[in-house]
């Protein structure tokens, strides 16, 4: 499946767009997403280890399974307040 990933802050700046697409195997997890982003979106490599991911507006773990249609976002370390 192809999923669209929302990008914010440094990730949006590096990629130059507010989203990117990545192809994932069926029943992929967030660990798969991180690996495939590194392979398919070269601009994210410098920061990929610092990123968390949200699935359906909730923080996900590496084991979280991604289903088609899920809202996926890259969450670089936050700095609000």
């Amino acid at each position: 499946m192809i999923v669209e990933v929302k990008l914010f802050a440094i990730t949006r700046q590096l990629v130059g767009r507010p989203t990117c697409s990545v192809e994932l195997p069926a029943s992929a997890t967030v660990a798969d997403l991180r690996r495939e982003l590194s392979r398919q979106v070269a601009e994210l490599v410098p920061v990929i280890k610092s990123l968390q991911f949200a699935v359906g507006t909730q923080y996900a773990t590496d084991a979280t399974v991604i289903s088609p249609g899920d809202e996926i976002a890259c969450i670089p370390p936050v700095s609000g307040g």
């Binding site: 968390q52 909730q58 370390p77 936050v78 307040g81």
Partner: protein
């Protein structure tokens, strides 16, 4: 007439493109059930380690930021006897001395209001998906992405 039963904490959450009206924030938590109001404002400081800031720029993941702020308010309300809780975060450009965030809580007694206010800002800074871009006086700018703490919650 006897003391009324405890009511649910009144929660209000806002992401705002315009200057935060701290009077409104205070009004939203003021109640005859409360003996204490604590308001925290995070304001834009000019100097950080000798570098001069001209302004800040905030962006967020709106749906998730609102959802996380609501969760934090509910967690605080479960932990402390709060009458009301209001959290507002600015987006876009925030000038020097302006507030980027306002958190107000009210409670019957002051200790709970101080503890809840401090916990809310500490936790907001760790888990709410909002990002700050520093615009320095030398014309450069950079996204602020603190390292080394696990923000998952």
């Amino acid at each position: 007439m006897s003391e009324p039963a405890k009511h649910a904490t009144q929660i209000s959450i806002e992401l705002s493109e315009s200057v935060i009206d701290s009077q409104d924030v205070i009004r939203s938590v003021t109640s005859p059930a409360a003996g204490a109001v604590v308001l925290f404002l995070g304001t834009t400081r000019e100097f950080t380690g000798g570098r001069q800031t001209v302004y800040l720029d905030y962006e967020c993941y709106p749906e998730m930021a609102r959802c996380k702020m609501q969760e934090l308010a509910e967690q605080a309300a479960a932990r402390w006897p709060l009458v009301a809780c209001c959290m507002v975060h600015r987006l876009g450009r925030v000038n020097l001395a302006e507030a980027s965030v306002a958190i107000a809580v009210s409670s019957p007694h002051r200790l709970a209001a101080f503890e809840a206010g401090q916990w809310l800002i500490d936790t907001l800074k760790q888990v709410v998906p909002i990002w700050k871009q520093e615009h320095w006086s030398d014309g450069t700018s950079e996204w602020v992405h603190p390292q080394g703490n696990d923000k998952r919650n």
